[in-house]
Amino acid sequence: MLINLFHTVRSAGVPCTLRELLDLLGALEKNLAFADMEDFYFLSRTILVKDEKNYDKFDRAFEIYFKGIETLEDIFEALIPEDWLRKAFEKELDPEELKKIQSLGGLEKLLEEFKKRLEEQKERHEGGNKWIGTNGTSPFGNNGNNPEGVRVGGEGGNKKAVKVWEQRQFQNLDDSVEIGTRNIKVALRRLRKFARQSTDYELDMDGTIKSTARNAGILDINMIPERTNHVKVLIFFDVGGSMDPYIKLCEELFSALKTEFKHLKYFYFHNCVYESVWEDNRRRTQERFLVQDIINKYSADYKVIFVGDATMAPYEITNAGGSIEHWNEEPGGATIRRLCDHFDRVAWLNPVPDDHWDYTSSLCIIRELVDNRMFPLTLKGLEEGMSELSK
């Protein structure tokens, strides 16, 4: 009753619940998709998936489920039956190729190797020279050009439907890679905190009607203050050098931030925050603001956002005099720590993809300095960052 499909889809990370499964069963009962894979694919996608960013995950799960790849033993047996390999396979090879097979240690060895790699490998693969997949030079896979290769799956009398999810057209909709001003604004809205403050100057319609009615119909006008966003934000942008590849991303973030927050102050720094920062890149040498002044001036309820790749030589953070531009009396790390201590809510947005973070030691140091409150500059990371700030 599709419970396995449901679990496969769920374990692929598509958030669907029992309710959707019941809907799908209901739809099948009404004969919406009968004995047609493509119809069933469209139907189950319509019902189980609620966001286009999950289409790709769903496609993958669907493929896995319907290829019957439940256990690795199964796929191994299903795809290359022993006798096929021995007879048909050896017949297909000319003597020269047979000789080459020996280079991998004969058929037995080849099969063992195949199984081993299958276990290591989890995803569909194309190109490359090791993994099992299509168009590569690995000994295993489809459409490849390794004479010692074993062809796996593929071709055959697949219906058009199989291709629909194999194409994985929705790949780029996944994982919030796309980020634009509009998207950023939506993410930033998490930070909104509306409050009615200051003087009354908006007509309170509901209140007026209520109190007028209570007043036996004699007009009684009520006023309330306008709702405004009361979040206050300080931003520190890393500029120049290693940040250059991320200029467009940062520009978009900046323009979204500027329209979203009324109380917004921004400063620039290079690589690491030292004792002073600047507000205007053209006058960075003449006009600088001491970080200590910023701490004194802005109260602890300001939310602080750092934007930077945190990629530099470790001594630029840890050592006095480590700055590449001037002599700093105090290590940059201490300044960052002081900011974190003063302001309650801090988040560091990093344009470097988060799976690369562990490879850069300076990045790890900064991450520790901001108490792990570092988020990738993707939509998802931005949302996480904003919910951290609004806690």
């Binding site: 958030p15 619940t17 309710r19 959707e20 809907d23 209901g26 739809a27 009404k30 919406l32 998709a33 493509e38 119809d39 469209f42 139907l43 996608r45 319509t46 019902i47 998936v49 609620k50 966001d51 286009e52 289409y55 057209q169 929705f170 909709l173 509009r182 939506v186 809205r189 009607i209 007028t212 009615a213 119909g217």
Partner: protein, 282 residues
């Protein structure tokens, strides 16, 4: 009752399936997709092909969920009471029915379009949970429960400006209209301009997909822009050669104003064209 597209609307297989599931299970259908891929048009065409009445509810940033149910016009009632109008005695005279009420009340099944739901406040979809689930709501002023006589076919469109809450999504089906591929696009053009010359369509589509491929465009032209552009091309009766020679890398396409809606995009195209001409001149 099955939807397979109409003579004015090309529906892909997956879209038809989504609509048919909606019809069979009487659940609301959420339609997302790039602007200009025919989300709103879908509801109109579904209504037409099924022979149902269409009720449209266009959502704005100020729209509240309760406005779709009903509004109590307290101000008119107040004025009437002060003027001694007889109508004032019956509160029903001051209840203005909303689109949802209209749809629920109808004797025949109708198609209800909730257009651009993402424009409204974040709480908007949450306020409609019960109403869409049970297809009923309670009117406090008159003390009656309005229940749908025939569950309407609800089609909701969204431009993805806000994320919809999970609880809301659970109650709906979902479909993302993908940007049409070339064969579908040819079908769409044929539906709109049956008499258009085949050669013109081919050249125009080549050009159109080329323009869409240019990296860095702020707003890629979509189906509705293509249709407008073709209309212009036809009315201008441009000689065929103009389109044929108008490789995007050499010159900007004729009447580009219909395709590109953004000054920066036009500039980008001009710059690319200039660079390519310069390279050729060398």
């Amino acid at each position: 009752m099955k939807f397979t597209g109409t003579k004015n609307y090309v529906s892909t297989e997956d879209l038809s399936m989504a609509v048919n599931a909606t019809i069979a299970l009487e659940r609301p259908l959420i339609i997302k997709g790039e602007p200009g891929t025919g989300k709103t048009l879908l509801a109109i065409e579904v209504a037409e092909s099924l022979g149902m009445e269409l009720i449209e509810w266009h959502v704005k940033s100020t729209t509240k969920a309760s406005q779709g149910l009903y509004e109590y016009d307290a101000v008119t009632r107040l004025r009437d009471s002060q003027l001694g109008d007889e109508r004032v005695k019956d509160i029903k005279n001051y209840i203005k029915k909303g689109k949802l009420w209209e749809a629920f009340e109808s004797d025949k099944q109708v198609v209800l379009l909730i257009d651009e739901i993402d424009k409204a406040d974040i709480e908007f979809p949450n306020d409609l949970l019960q109403e869409l689930d049970r297809m009923e709501f309670y009117c406090y002023e008159t003390g009656e429960t309005i229940k749908a006589k025939k569950r309407p076919l609800i089609i909701i469109t969204s431009n993805n400006e806000k994320e919809l809450p999970d609880a809301f999504l659970r109650r709906c089906f979902f479909h993302y209209i993908q940007f049409p591929d070339r064969p579908t696009m040819e079908g769409i053009v044929k539906v709109h301009y049956p008499k258009i010359k085949k050669a013109l369509v081919k050249d125009a589509l080549d050009l159109f997909f080329d323009v869409r491929k240019i990296p860095g465009l702020k707003k890629k032209p979509s189906t509705s822009e293509l249709i407008d552009w073709l209309k212009l091309l036809m009315s201008d009766e441009l000689p065929d050669e103009i389109l044929k020679n108008a490789d995007t890398s050499k010159a900007i396409p004729p009447l580009y104003g219909a395709l590109l809606k953004n000054e920066q995009d036009v500039q980008l195209l001009e710059r690319l064209a200039f660079m390519s001409r310069r390279d050729q001149a060398k």
